[in-house]
């Protein structure tokens, strides 16, 4: 009962908090217009949005809520499969929220003081942050397809407001890239969902997975859905929004974007693809997915190290990491028997990546506004999650061990090599990111006990200790740490990466001198060809539309001319009237003759 209440509250609470600000604004009618002081938007209440969901994630026991009148009949569910996702997501959301209160303190103060422009932007953030959260929670908790899709769409579109928060040119570019790609994804998802759900006439995700297994064209449905969610998950080719949107978003928003929201794509895959079902027959798709995942993992790493903005580097790292996860999902498709074991590793990996990437993003803000900590303490703390992500320590090591073991057992040795290569890339990326952070570090110290550093510190702790508390498949992982004799096999990529990084660092000056162009590779890589293609397409479409328009107007003009002619002709008919008048009697006789003929012919 309590769990059910919590379930409802988990979704409702952020919405209530979202509505609070405008209601307050409306109460104080002129608040928007007057120049004077204004209410505080990002208060403690605001940050409390994910708390009920967190409580739900920690509440023992499974629960299901049936909502008859909701959409087409809602089924919200918390089961063991959803719990880890919910837990780490809400945790990160909560931390990011707390962090944001500190991060945006300057804007907050400006807004309160009466800077209308800033206040407006902040209002947007204050409204859309809980909304995005609500969407995210709904998509995690929903078992019925409409609610799932609703959550997904709400999260996607509300996050647009977070991306363009800065309201400058870059932000709008990032926002546009985000939105267009998201729309593309939404469309594919909708199409796939409709197709798959329609063939089995089901409303639940479970039914959907079965439907894909049963349906004749299940592979196509799965492919469409995979692509659709792939936009969110940053599959190579569809990832272009990530490096554009992440750097421009406020840091806490970047953290949730990269830590939680792109995981929604993964959640989508896990929810709709019949992973682990031997009857699915999706092996060809699986192989493709593996290949694409690896291409993404390696390619993003290579491209990422050319970036200057630390957030862009981290974004490419996300693409790379998601590529690895994609490859794992692909294995789940090609080798269904392996999935039950692999799924644990995937969840662990995803959670690890989410928390760690979150901590890294939060760390960027910290390096820009360092708290009053000695540098020897601050920078190792910043390096710690990076190393963890590279797989050298803590949760990174544990998750790497988890999937490596499974893969070896399943006979996918080659894949492990490739993934290790990707880990080398990750190490390089981490080094690059930290290097850029170091170069762009700030000097104005902020108090240590502010919300921002505390949230960051807590995030680091949570991220590194993840395997200890994350409930996977009914309980915490038994033995998360690899035995010591496995360590070399797990750690060599980090070593190699560090070595390469060192080489690169020394060779850097040389390379910079000779090949300046390398550093001009724009973030967003494929976005630019896409954009120009889209521009051409758009221009073509517009030309087509305009063509229709001009064709239509030409036709109209022709018709009008014709009409004028016809009117003139009709006006001219009156002259015959005179003849009729003059010839009335002969005409009468003519009529009589005609009638006579008619009678005669009878």
């Amino acid at each position: 009962m309590t769990a059910t209440l919590l379930l409802i509250l988990a979704i409702l609470w952020p919405l209530v908090l979202m509505l609070r600000s405008p209601l307050r604004l409306m109460m104080e009618q002129e608040a928007l217009w007057r120049p004077g002081p204004r209410p505080k938007l990002l208060d403690a209440w605001w940050a409390s949005a994910p708390l009920p969901a967190l409580a739900l994630a920690l509440w023992p026991g499974e629960t299901t809520l049936l909502l008859e009148g909701w959409l087409l009949g809602g089924v919200w569910q918390l089961d063991e499969a959803r719990r880890p996702w919910l837990l780490f997501s809400t945790l990160l959301w909560g931390l990011a929220g707390v962090y944001a209160r500190g991060y945006l303190i300057a804007e907050q103060q400006a807004g309160e003081a009466g800077d209308g422009e800033t206040f407006r932007r902040l209002t947007g953030l204050a409204l859309l942050w809980p909304l995005t959260l609500a969407g995210n929670l709904l998509l995690l908790l929903a078992e019925d397809i409409p609610s799932f899709y609703l959550g997904f769409a709400v999260m996607t579109f509300a996050a647009y407001g977070l991306v363009v928060h800065a309201d400058n040119r870059d932000a709008h570019l990032g926002g546009r890239a985000y939105l267009i790609m998201a729309l593309f994804g939404e469309a594919l998802i909708l199409g796939g969902l409709l197709w798959a759900a329609g063939s089995a006439e089901t409303l639940t995700l479970t039914g959907l997975r079965e439907s894909i297994v049963d349906a004749e064209q299940g592979a196509w449905m799965a492919a469409i859905l995979w692509l659709g969610f792939g936009v969110k998950a940053g599959v190579v080719g569809l990832h272009v929004w990530l490096p554009l949107a992440h750097p421009v978003a406020p840091t806490p928003a970047s953290a949730v974007l990269s830590g939680v929201m792109i995981k929604a794509g993964l959640v989508g895959w896990l929810s709709v693809l019949p992973l682990g079902d031997p009857a699915a027959g999706l092996e060809p798709l699986g192989r493709l997915v593996v290949v694409l995942g690896l291409v993404g993992a390696l390619g993003a790493a290579l491209f990422g190290i050319t970036q200057r903005h630390p957030k862009a580097v981290l974004a490419y790292s996300s693409v790379s990491q998601m590529g690895m996860l994609t490859a794992l999902v692909g294995i789940g498709l090609t080798d269904p028997a392996l999935w039950p074991a692999l799924s644990v590793a995937v969840v662990l990996f995803a959670a690890h990546h989410g928390m760690t990437k979150g901590a890294l993003f939060l760390g960027i803000g910290i390096s820009e506004h360092p708290p009053r900590l000695p540098a020897w303490l601050l920078w190792p703390l910043l390096v710690l999650p990076a190393l963890s992500l590279a797989g050298a320590l803590a949760s990174g090591l544990a998750s790497k061990w988890a999937f490596k073991g499974v893969l070896y057992e399943g006979g996918h040795g080659a894949l492990v090599i490739w993934l290790s290569l990707a880990a080398v890339g990750t190490t390089l990326l981490m080094a690059r990111a930290l290097w850029r952070q170091w170069r762009e570090r700030g000097h104005h110290a902020i108090p240590l006990l502010g919300t921002m550093p505390l949230a960051w510190l807590f995030a680091i702790v949570a991220a590194t200790s993840l395997p200890l508390w994350l409930p996977v498949a009914g309980g915490v992982v038994d033995s998360p740490w690899p035995p010591p004799d496995e360590l070399p096999g797990l750690l060599w990529p980090v070593g190699a990466g560090l070595a390469l990084a060192g080489l690169g660092f020394y060779g850097l000056a040389d390379i910079t001198r000779r090949r300046r162009v390398v550093w001009r590779l724009m973030p967003g890589d494929l976005w630019w060809p896409y954009a120009s293609l889209a521009r051409h397409l758009g221009a073509g479409l517009k030309a087509f539309g305009d063509g229709l328009e001009t064709r239509g107007s030409r036709l109209r003009a022709w018709l009008v001319a014709q009409e004028k002619g016809a009117m003139a002709w009709i006006d001219g008919l009156t002259r015959y009237e005179r003849r009729f008048r003059q010839l009335a009697v002969p005409l009468m006789i003519g009529v009589a003759v005609l009638l006579l003929l008619g009678f005669w012919l009878e």
């Binding site: 008048r581 009697v585 002969p586 003519g590 009589a592 006579l596």
Partner: protein
């Protein structure tokens, strides 16, 4: 060889009608029309329709004539006729081609009538009346189409009407005299009323448009 009086009865109204319709002098034409009506009355009498003869004399000759003269502005008091009307020449000259063209519908009508009458054998006594009726119809219609002067068209209408009456009575003969006479009397009254109305109109038109010929005033629209 038909008897002389029959021939006379046929030819007299026809000749008079032709004069009425073709005379260029309107007062003379109207006077001739009175004569024509009297001749027709004679025919009625000859055919044995006394009532019709009386009515024809009264309505056709006296009253219609009176109205015609009224239209011309010629009164009993001997006022001089309105010069404009009395001596008016038709503005449209009589051209042969025009005349021939207007003959075509008349011929068509006569052809139709001939086709119908072919199956209705005429008794001896009525044959003359039938012929004169047919000729009068043709003449009247032709003149009606030909002329544009309103008064002349009224004359033409009257002559056509008379032709139809003659034809009617010749057809009816002795079979249904009452019905036939009823029709003819109605027709006579209507013709009189029509002529009266037309005559009054001609007068009014003439009074309204003193500067213009009433005939040409109605030229464009009338007909």
């Amino acid at each position: 060889m038909p008897p002389l009086d029959d021939v006379l009865l046929v030819t007299l109204p026809v000749l008079l009608a032709a004069f009425v319709l073709l005379d260029r002098h309107l007062v003379r034409a109207c006077s001739l029309f009175v004569l024509f009506a009297l001749a027709v009355a004679l025919t009625w009498w000859k055919l044995g329709f006394l009532w019709l003869a009386m009515l024809e004399t009264l309505l056709g000759a006296a009253l219609t004539g009176g109205f015609l003269f009224h239209a011309l502005g010629v009164g009993l008091a001997g006022r001089a006729p309105t010069a404009r009307l009395a001596h008016a020449r038709d503005p449209v000259p009589l051209i042969w081609r025009r005349g021939l063209v207007h003959l075509l519908p008349v011929l068509a009508l006569l052809g139709m009538l001939a086709a119908a009458l072919g199956s209705l054998p005429a008794s001896d006594g009525s044959l003359a009346a039938r012929w004169s009726g047919l000729v009068l119809i043709g003449l009247g219609l032709w003149a009606f189409a030909l002329h544009t002067h309103l008064l002349r068209r009224l004359l033409a209408f009257n002559i056509t009407g008379t032709g139809i009456f003659l034809l009617l009575m010749s057809l009816v003969g002795k079979t249904a005299p009452a019905a036939g006479q009823g029709l003819v009397i109605t027709g006579l009254v209507v013709a009189l009323l029509g002529t009266a109305l037309g005559a009054l109109l001609v007068r009014r038109l003439g009074a309204l448009v003193p500067s213009r010929e009433p005939a040409s005033a109605s030229d464009g629209q009338a007909s």
